[in-house]
Amino acid sequence: MGMTILRRMAAATGITLLAAVFTMSAHAADPIKIGSFLSVTGPASFLGDPELKTLEMYVEQINENGGVLGRPLELIHYDDQGNASSARSFASRLIRSDRVDIIVGGSTTGATMASVPLVEQAGIPFISLAGAVVITDPVKKWVFKTPQSDRMAAERILEDMKDRGFTKIGLISGTGGFGASGRTQTLNVAKRMGMEIVADVTYSGSDTDMTAQLTNIRNTKGVEAVLNFGFGQGPAIVTRNYDQLGMKLPFYQSHGVASDSFLRLAGKAAEGLRLPGSPLLVPESIPEGDPQKNIVRNYKAEYEAKWGQSVSTFGGYAYDGLMLAVNALEAAGSTDKAAVRDALEGIQGYVGVTGEFNMSPDDHNGLDPDSFRILEVVNGGWVLID
């Protein structure tokens, strides 16, 4: 007898729980809904955290200034914790339950790619904040992205190496999504540019010491420069180990660590290393009259005043994502998804924090490699080289 009741209870509990989740949507559709799923916590939180802060800050600011198309913006955001499966679930929730008008989000390539099938099928404009080149190559009808691709980063780094006369490179990369994709792109670009990767080692996200890998690079004959592709605390440890080992070869990092917090972690060991980064790190070095100068300077000032922490390149991706969305909404004159998508594709000459965007049907990223600036660490600060 008890067994039957037990099952009824189970049924009741299940249904109540389901109902609890499932009645959380439905609201008057006056505001324009901007959906977002970001890796606010978890291993990729240094991407998602500044991205969310940026989105929150500017949605508030835009609303204070009267919104878009006379309607306020509503930001609906979820934390995917860096897990692609939950990113997909939240994308599904944004599209199907919250019924957002446009999505600006996806901190990591995995999270973005897991959501792409849903986005494409539902036909909703999606501006990704993740780096890998696969997101927009081949072009997907509804998918755009704001960061430069890792291929561009690799090109920019290898060009700078070549200019300095280095053609034999030691590569160390993280095994996470960012590092692995960056490694693949570096190998491809090097082959194309006639350069040679003579050492190729990796480290995982949980490693606390990369001395063994670096020793191998040091002992490889002919290495002329070293490149580390990775993000998180790993590259800071690599930088310190590099210094401890007394390695004097020219050292490059990727845009994955282009932030002041990296300098804080790596300390004096970072001295002299180069990386491709956003002008955001060197706002004062941008020449007067460059349209990017004011945008970058304002974003940096506003972000740092509001959140009391230093600005990072990744927050800039979210800034551009949101502004591209707003531009497209205004150009389309409505929230009609197809019209907004067409407007996004037609954006020309929008200057953002990351660079100048010129979208086209063949290019849903719209940036060129020169939007990356080569920066060098000098006396604990960033200096613009190129």
Binding site: T41, T211, Q213, N216, N219, I237, Q244, S261
Partner: protein, 291 residues
């Protein structure tokens, strides 16, 4: 050639000493309760993060470290009193899930309190590395090794020379018999959590200058410590130390001589090898089950 080997060895021993300290914490609690304490890594995190925040308040480093380690110990006692003790009738597996819940809870609190950024803890002494026969060693590595040795010696003395230590050992061997001779098992369990949390806190502080620290540092270091304890045979103090050192050295050698892609896989294969050929771990005790 030799300097290369020496470099890998130094690297491995440093990482290994860290793993060994964490593994000891697992072993203590496992011995006293048969619980795999998945919140062990959080003690490390508290050690490191609390040091950072006490130092930010302007406290001198030694005081900040002491307070951080004590805070970690307090956390251990609270965990035992409010999460493990109330569920004393529960299955061991249930207790393990409770520690998983606790670790998520503590990590969540740390994230609210301290934010999500990584922080630097300065080296205890000089930043200038030491060079021996062409290999390099961070001075902090010496601190890790030195403090690790002190802790192990202190633990040995504690378990062999003090009444309380002997009581913990007795309880781990036979709960009912020790209860019969008047040992309060709940109290002993609390002590085990306290000592284990203090150990975790110490480990967290000494490695923080090498690894940096953040609210989620406990996940990865805790897991490696558990793997080390497993290699050594859960429940053996010597095993934890040897397991930790083995794991560290194997990782460094594999990264150096085999493949950095698969160095972690090599470490995990070690668990399988040990289980297949030395089924009680390197130093695991033989267990006789009564019907």
């Amino acid at each position: 050639m030799f300097s290369e080997f020496l470099q890998f060895l130094f690297t491995g021993v440093t990482i290994g000493a860290t793993y060994a300290l964490i593994a000891l914490g697992f072993t203590l609690i496992y011995n006293a309760s048969h619980v795999i304490n998945f919140a062990q890594g959080e003690f490390l995190m508290i050690g490191g993060m609390a040091t950072v925040s006490f130092m930010a308040l302007g406290l001198p480093m030694p005081l900040a470290i002491t307070l951080a380690v004590l805070l970690s110990g307090l956390m251990g006692v609270l965990l035992q009193r409010f999460a493990i003790a109330p569920a004393k009738k529960a299955d061991v597996v249930t207790l393990i899930i409770i520690t998983i819940g606790a670790s998520i809870f503590i990590r969540g609190l740390a994230q609210l309190l301290w934010g999500k950024q990584y922080h630097v803890v300065p080296n205890f002494s000089s930043d200038e590395p030491i060079r021996i026969l062409g290999a390099v060693m961070n001075t902090q590595s010496l601190w890790v090794l030195g403090i690790g040795t002190v802790v192990v010696v202190a633990l040995v003395l504690f378990f062999t020379r003090t009444m309380i230590g002997k009581a913990i050992l007795a309880t781990s061997m036979n709960k009912q018999a020790s209860r019969l001779v008047g040992i309060k098992t709940q109290f002993v369990l609390m002590l085990a959590f306290l000592v284990s949390a203090l150990l975790g806190g110490i480990a967290g502080v000494v490695v923080a200058p090498i690894t940096f620290t953040s609210y989620d540092i406990g996940i990865m270091l805790g897991l490696k410590g558990f793997v080390a304890a497993a290699i050594g045979g859960l429940g053996s103090g010597v095993g934890a130390v040897v397991g930790g050192l083995c794991l560290g050295i194997v990782e460094a050698m594999a990264a150096g001589y085999l493949s950095s892609d698969y160095k972690d896989a090599v470490a995990f294969s070690m668990i399988l090898l040990v289980l297949f050929f030395m089924p009680r771990g390197l130093f695991g005790a033989k267990v006789v089950e009564r019907v």
